[in-house]
Every structure is written in C-alpha cells, then in structure tokens.
C-alpha cells in the first residue's frame, strides 16, 4: 500500500517535471485571461498568430539545424538583411526617396522574393560549409555570419541615393496585399501570413517525415558516426538542411518586411532567440536527433502568446527579457533531465 502510494507520487512528480514547461506557460495564459478576460478576444488571437507566423517560419528553418545538434545565431540578422533587400525592391515607384530611383514600374513579386531567398541562402550555405566541411562549431560560424550580415545590412541601408540611412518604407500596394493581406472568411479576417506559415509547416512536415533527407537528418543528429557508417552522406545532408533553412529565412524576411512596413538596420534583432526558444519549447532537443514540426509550430505560437500576454498586462519589458531567458533555461534543463533518464 505504502509502496503503491510512493510509486504514484513518483509518477505524478515525474509527470509534473516532464511537462513543467507546458504547465507554466498554460498557467501564465490562464492567469492573464483571468486578469484581463478580453485577452481571449478573436482579434487578439489572430494578432498572436500573425506575429507568431514569421518567427515560426524562422523556427521551422532553425529546427532542422537543432536536430543536427547545431544552432543558428545569425537568423535575425540574415532575415533583417533579406527584409531590407526586399524592402528596397518593393518600394512604391511614386515614392521620391526610393532606393532605386531608376525603377519606373513595380517589379513582379517573384523578383524581391527570390532576391530575399538568395541573400539568406548564401549566408546559410556559408554556415553549412563551416559546420559540415570545416567541422566548426555552429555557435562560432553563425556568430561570425551574424556580424557579417549585420554589417552588410547597415552598408546596404546607408547606400541609399537620398544620402540618408532611414528605414526603408512606402511599399507598393501589390506587395502589401500579397504578403500582409487578409483572407475574408465571413466577417473574420484571416491574415495571409498565417496561412503561409501553416503551408510551409506542412511542406516541412513532409520533408522531415516522408523524405530520405528527413530520415538522414535525424540519423545524423542522433549519431553522426553511426549515420556515416550506415552510408549517409553527412556533408550533403547538413548542407541541404542549411539550404532549406536559408530558403525559409528568405521567405520570412520577405513576409516580415510587409508585416512591419518599415525595414531598418535593427530589423530582426533578437529574432534568433525567439526562433530557438520556439524550437526548444516545442520539444526539439539541443542534444540532436529529436523534434517534430508540430512541436515547433506549437512552440512558436505559445512563445508569441506569452510575449503578447506579458505586454497585454503591462509587464515591464526588462522583466520580459528575464522571463524569456528563464523559459529557455527551463526548457534546456527539462531536456537534459529527459536525456539523463533515457541514458
């Protein structure tokens, strides 16, 4: 009897510790909705989803790198640079201080989208090369590319013909409609960016679960040596995962430019922490080889809901930084515990 009680208590403790992150995040959201009942209004929920979308797309890219037991510190700055290039190419032709004064008509949207993707892919491939071929730690190489992307972005913004370094704004209507428009469902406006996010998440789910690349990625992340011995081309797998991440960062940069409507040198600052946090909250293990796309999507939405709720009840932004940092520490501590239990 005594033994049974102790066993049950142990099981409850294990459950609470295993799911501590979700319990706490849920508790925060419930508390906020009790303090401010209008927190759960449809408008707020759509706003949370909209804000979570671009960061979620970044997290989808970053998750693959974490599954490979790596990371990417350059996400925010690379996305910022991609967004700046997009912004320069989609400025309204009637705007006097536009980046390209010689541009007499709006470019087809595929051009800025491709330009944004190419920029992000270049940086991502440099990271991939450093990790796979040069065997550099992802922290080091991505720290370097983060600074390079920031410097390049500052130079790009400073090189405006108007001679100023002001944020790039005043975009053409087609861009705003396509990248930041809404889909009317009856009286409800569903932001298109949310649909793009869900579409990309579906594609990534297929890549992770139904393709050889996905299987190889988990094999390399789980045990690189074993994967190599089993005939997996480790370098090719790592490069492809980084390439996909680059494509997603480029798309996120394109969409983020439309969402924020004004792209400056500081666009994307700190986005890497949000993307990495979303992955970790969503159950992608820093030890590699573990993670799901649905987890990343849920992680991105939960994280944004927390950010939104803390703002909603007026929590000091400096406290918000501490809270977000503690959430990451907690997520990693839980991950380490799971790893030790498994070991």
């Amino acid at each position: 009897m005594q033994q049974g009680k102790a066993f049950n208590r142990q099981r409850v403790t294990d459950f609470l510790l295993h799911y501590a992150m979700y319990i706490i995040l849920l508790a925060i959201l419930v508390t906020v909705s009790i303090i401010r009942p209008n927190f759960l209004a449809l408008g707020n929920i759509l706003n949370i989803l909209k804000q979570a979308s671009t960061k979620g797309i970044l997290a989808l890219g970053c998750a693959g790198l974490i599954v490979l037991a790596g990371t990417d510190l350059s996400i925010g700055r690379v996305m910022g640079f991609s967004a700046a290039v997009t912004a320069a190419l989609v400025q309204s032709v009637t705007y006097k201080s536009r980046y390209f004064p010689g541009m007499a008509q709006d470019l087809p949207l595929i051009v800025p989208l491709l330009a944004s993707i190419v920029i992000a892919v270049i940086f991502s491939l440099i990271n991939g090369f450093g990790v796979s071929k040069l065997k550099m730690h992802a922290f080091i190489i991505t720290l370097g590319t983060q600074l390079i992307a920031f410097g390049a972005n500052c130079l790009f913004i400073e090189a405006q013909p108007s001679g100023t370094a002001q944020a790039l704004s005043t975009f053409n209507q087609t861009f705003k409609d396509v990248a930041a428009g809404d889909l009317m469902l009856g009286t409800v406006k569903i932001p298109l960016v949310v649909l793009y996010f869900l579409g990309l998440a579906t594609i990534m789910w297929v890549v992770w679960n139904k393709t050889r690349l996905g299987k190889n990625m988990f094999a390399v992340g789980g045990n690189e040596e074993a994967a190599r011995v089993s005939g997996v081309n480790v370098v090719r797998t790592i490069m492809l995962v980084y390439l996909i991440a680059g494509v997603l960062y480029g798309i996120a940069g394109f969409l983020e430019a439309a969402r924020i409507q004004s792209v400056g040198a500081n666009t994307g600052l700190g986005y890497e922490t949000d993307a990495i946090s979303a992955c970790v909250i969503g159950g992608v293990s820093f030890s590699g080889g573990v993670g799901t796309i649905q987890g990343v999507v849920i992680g991105a939405v939960i994280l944004q809901a927390i950010n939104f709720s803390l703002n909603f009840i007026g929590v000091n932004p400096y406290y918000q930084y501490i809270i977000r940092g503690l959430i990451i520490v907690l997520a990693v501590a839980i991950d380490v515990r799971k790893y030790i239990v498994k070991k």
Binding site: A69, E224, L310, V315, N316, Y319, Q320, L330, I340
Partner: protein, 64 residues
C-alpha cells in the same frame, strides 16, 4: 619479439588519449552531465520558482 618498455608506455598513452576523445558527443554538448536525475529535479524546481518570482515582480511593477 620483445618490445621496448618505452614503446609500450607510448602505445598505452596513445590508447588512453583515444579513449579520452571518445566521450559521447552528447555529453560534450551538454557538458559531462555527471549529474543525477534528483539534482536535475532540484534545478528545474529552482528555475520554476525563480520564474514565478520574476513573473510576479513583473506583474506588480507593471501595474504600478
């Protein structure tokens, strides 16, 4: 064929070096992880308590 003692010592040192290098890479990533589940439980509880305190402080100072 008899081998020199120095040669044997060299081989032994080499083998030890190789063995040292074969620490599981997950352990290298998370540190050596010479920590028990009970200790991790305590750490998690401590972080949760800290998080709760910061949240409370944030709400109190935010509403001021």
């Amino acid at each position: 064929m008899k081998r020199d003692a120095r040669e044997l010592r060299g081989e032994l040192a080499g083998a030890e070096e190789t063995a040292k290098g074969r620490v599981p890479w997950r352990d290298r990533l998370y540190g050596r992880l010479k920590v028990s589940v009970a200790t991790m439980d305590k750490i998690i509880i401590a972080v949760v308590v800290l998080l709760a305190i910061v949240l409370l402080l944030g709400v109190i100072t935010g509403n001021r």
